[in-house]
């Protein structure tokens, strides 16, 4: 555990001490080594589920994929931010990398925490660097508004969680994840108990985000710089899903009647946010709304509380993390060239950036869940487990897949196909850095086809 955490912490002094000329290369190489080393977590010899333990931290099949994804994302963020920060003074560049690194530290601590309180603290701690990234490095003045929304939605959602956790601590005497699942379930008889139940989940549902509490997400995504969008879509939303899965064990037996409205709400959100995507003109906003739509499916898969539901949710979280992050990077390549997020202004790019079109195509296909990509495995498992609960969910999930295909291909056709407008004839060519960035997103996704058990969580 520490062999990943300590190098990550040491990345901060290295950022400040390495010479300005080699700042990006050294940090990139260093973080990539950390990412590669983190893959060793997948090798779990123990049968009990928990491994790499120390006093406060451990990994299990549920947290390992998310941890590896977190570590994988840092080099990609560094790679993606290189261009748009190049005009800033080197001190600020160092500061930026430090922020990204601190985010990774908090995320590792959050995902590997064996104590719920520590998970809670780290969950909250990730807000700070993210807020700074959005409000300090965003491009438009709306970034301040976006930062406010981001902070207030998540804080308002998560403060009840603290109270709920203290109450739980009071009744069970421990908040260790290792033993919590053996604790007697709380009685959910009174209204206060039901509020406690809602308090336990609300923070995560806002973070996911559940449809209805999602307003902060498109704003934050649109206004954040590329690295912020990437980490938000790829990992921070997954904190919500991860937290829900952990809490579900505690809340397990009696929550069926309470969870039904949330499931329906999540599925309804898949349709509604999908329809919003069909009308989007703003590329980043489209990808952000598509994240809401996919995370709705994840929320429904978790709330259904079956092994297939959990597995599907975890697969979809990982797959969606890589896919949406890749899409944001692609959107950023357009943004850096045209300085606009409007899709109408960057059309027909296949003519000028043909290799980029390939990446756009693969990423769009991953977004619409083409077999055998893990996105499909996840969606199919969630759809099946929901179908097992009620046949009528298929009307929503089915329409959801149709709409997803619609807007993913709309995005692809809109940006890549058609004639090239005259004003972008002299567009800047692509860099190897950009291609590498996208390949490093898509390659893990494609390799996961061969061994999906890695991200199957408990039921693998």
């Amino acid at each position: 555990m520490l062999k990943i955490l300590l190098p990550t912490i040491m990345l901060i002094p290295m950022t400040w001490l390495s010479p300005a000329k080699r700042l990006w290369t050294t940090t990139l190489a260093y973080s990539l080594i950390i990412a590669l080393a983190s893959l060793a977590w997948f090798n779990t010899p123990t049968e009990t589920g928990w491994s790499c333990m120390n006093t406060y931290m451990a990994t299990d099949p549920l947290s390992t994929p998310l941890l590896a994804l977190t570590c994988w994302l840092l080099p990609l963020m560094i790679l993606a931010s290189q261009n748009h920060t190049s005009s800033e003074p080197v001190g600020r560049q160092r500061m930026y990398i430090t922020l990204l690194t601190s985010l990774q530290i908090f995320l590792i601590l959050a995902f590997s925490a064996t104590e719920v309180t520590m998970f809670y603290i780290m969950f909250e701690a990730t807000l700070i660097p993210t807020l700074i990234i959005i409000t300090r490095w965003g491009n438009q003045t709306e970034r301040l508004n976006a930062g406010t929304y981001f902070l207030f939605y998540t804080l308002a959602g998560s403060l009840p969680l603290l109270v709920a956790l203290l109450l739980l601590q009071n009744s069970t005497g421990t908040l260790s994840l290792l033993t919590l699942q053996y604790a007697p379930a709380m009685e959910l008889s009174s209204y206060a108990d039901k509020f406690w139940w809602a308090g336990c989940l609300l923070a995560f549902l806002v973070k996911m985000p559940l449809y209805g509490a999602h307003l902060w997400l498109p704003k934050a995504h649109v206004e954040a710089p590329i690295a912020g969008s990437m980490i938000l879509a790829a990992v921070l939303l997954k904190l919500g899903g991860y937290g829900m899965m952990r809490m579900m064990i505690v809340l397990e037996p009696l929550t069926k009647e309470l969870s039904y409205p949330f499931i329906i709400f999540a599925l309804w959100g898949v349709i509604m946010t999908g329809s919003i995507c069909l009308r989007q003109t703003d590329l980043k906003s489209l990808i952000a709304y598509s994240s809401v739509s996919h995370m709705g499916l994840v929320a429904a898969g978790i709330l259904i509380q079956t092994p297939w539901g959990f597995t599907g949710a975890l697969i979809l979280m990982i797959a969606h993390g890589l896919t949406s992050s890749a899409l944001f990077c692609l959107a950023n390549t357009n943004y850096e060239r045209t300085h606009s997020r409007t899709m109408m202004l960057a059309r027909g790019l296949q003519m000028v950036l043909p290799l980029m079109t390939t990446w756009w195509f693969i990423a769009s296909l991953a977004n619409l869940a083409l077999p055998p990509l893990p996105n499909l495995m996840g969606e199919l498992m969630i759809i099946t487990s929901l179908f097992n609960w009620s046949w009528w969910t298929l009307a929503l999930t089915g329409a959801g897949t149709l709409i997803t295909a619609g807007y993913s291909l709309y995005m692809f056709l809109m940006t890549q196909r058609g004639p090239l407008p005259a004003h972008i004839m002299a567009i800047h060519p692509t860099h190897s850095r950009e291609h590498l960035l996208i390949v490093l997103h898509l390659l893990p996704l494609i390799l996961l086809i061969l061994k999906p058990e890695l991200v199957w969580g408990w039921s693998a």
Binding site: P371, P372, G398, P452
Partner: protein, 622 residues
Amino acid sequence: MMNNPAMMSTILTSPLHMTSSMVLVFFALSYPIFTSLSPKPLKNDWAISHVKKAVKLAFFISLLPLFLFLNHGTETIMTDWKWMGTDTFDLCISLKFDFFSTIFTPIALFVTWSILEFASWYMHADPNMNRFFKYLLIFLIAMIILVTANNMFQLFLGWEGVGIMSFLLIGWWYGRADANTAALQAVLYNRVGDIGLIFAMAWFATNLNSWDLQQVFTASKDMDLTFPLLGLIIAATGKSAQFGLHPWLPSAMEGPTPVSALLHSSTMVVAGIFLLVRMSPLLENNPTALTTCLCLGALTTLFTATCALTQNDIKKIVAFSTSSQLGLMMVTIGLNQPQLAFLHICTHAFFKAMLFLCSGSIIHSLNDEQDIRKMGGMNHLTPFTSSCLTLGSLALTGTPFLAGFFSKDAIIEALNTSYLNAWALVLTLLATSFTAVYSLRIVFFVSMGNPRFTSLSPINENNPTVINPIKRLAWGSIIAGLLITSNMLPMKTPVMSMPPILKLAALIVTLLGVLTAMELASLTNKQFKTTPNLTAHHFSNMLGFFPAIIHRLTPKLNLILGQTIAAQTVDQTWLEKTGPKAIVSLNEPLIETTNNIQQGMIKTYLSLFFFTLALALLLLLI
């Protein structure tokens, strides 16, 4: 036979030969794909030297399992490599080489080989010809994955694979808005069908706990399968362009002609019918599903045949004829004769591919002119192509002893001798006669009469890459039906004796169709009516007003939902105005009130302070 040890050993090892040669087929086909991933630019003749050769090679390899099957009846299932597994649900890579896949694979490869050769001529001016060939090859591989799949997941893989490759190929000329629209249409209509397939898969997973075909077949013996079967029928409706989800097929003509040829003959559109053929053990005991297939098929075959009658684009006519034939296949599934439906898939592949290649050749010769009203007299200028066009049309109408006859006649006979829905029977017979009408119309307008095109057309069919593929397919259109029917054992006992009128029904309605068409053609010259009756013509010419209504209404409603309800009403009003923005506007008056007091008027504050203090002191002292 079994006493002969040499024979015995052949029988024992033939499954091995079968599986290994089928794996070789996959290897041969995917080799060019993998080598093309190398960053070096491909050679100009890569398309011919690698892709076409790979398909040709794969065809010859696939003949071995075919002969093994024909000689010994070898059928085998190959399972290896556990792909993924949960505690209770395993998924292995498993390939099924049975009657259907062993016969279909060589046919698909043969047809594709011809189409690729033709495409090397048709697309010679395209700078991305190598990429085009690569797409076609992946398209074919996806279809073979679908055909040989032994579990639903693999089938779904091939299913979506052909779908997405058709998106790329239909939208090949991506600078054109029409091509992009057509490509998107194809994917969206297919996605509607996919919902049905996902439904069926979810049902199988929850109720039977397996996606392996043989497990599904055995475990579902005593279950009511109506709902999953309806899901599969919806899937087939989308993929095979049955009524309701059909408009994408004529739109798909936006793609290059070789794409249309491949899409309509041996890949993509037959996938839907093939799925139902594959699932026929489930279908055969479910009257509801069968009746649905029958009525759906009959409706499709008549409707699309009607649409074909008045089209003027040569490719559109051929496309609608495919749709009509797919309807006929669906009828056959509904008659519970999956083997006959499969037979029709096989024979149809030859002549439909040939019809498309012929029209491609003619279109190219006439300077990309697709309107049959501007053709004519081609039998003098391109004798070979136009005679093959005629041959294909004849095979399509079911002229005795050509390929189409063996399947079509058998289907109509089975239809006539069944006790099923008479309406479906009438519709199908009507569609059969329409087949003759529009086939004659093509031949009449393209080959016969006088030329109606501009005089400077680059007419030249004397190129081996045009002649050879068409010739091969022409041979196929002549003998394929005979070859396949004489080599396969019917799974169901066909009714052999029937009254002559029933036996000859297919031929009679076809002849009636031809005669009516001739009469109509002569009527157009005489012009008895001053104002022609146009309603029926418009209905057919406008494709039953189906795209005009559905393609406007549905997207419009969806987009309105997205804009006014989802974005404006819910997101911006209910969620934002009553949420964060309401908090701001509720707090603002309070803030302003407290803020307004703090105006820095130090004299007022001090005097107020003084007076209150004085008052307080006064009160205390008193």
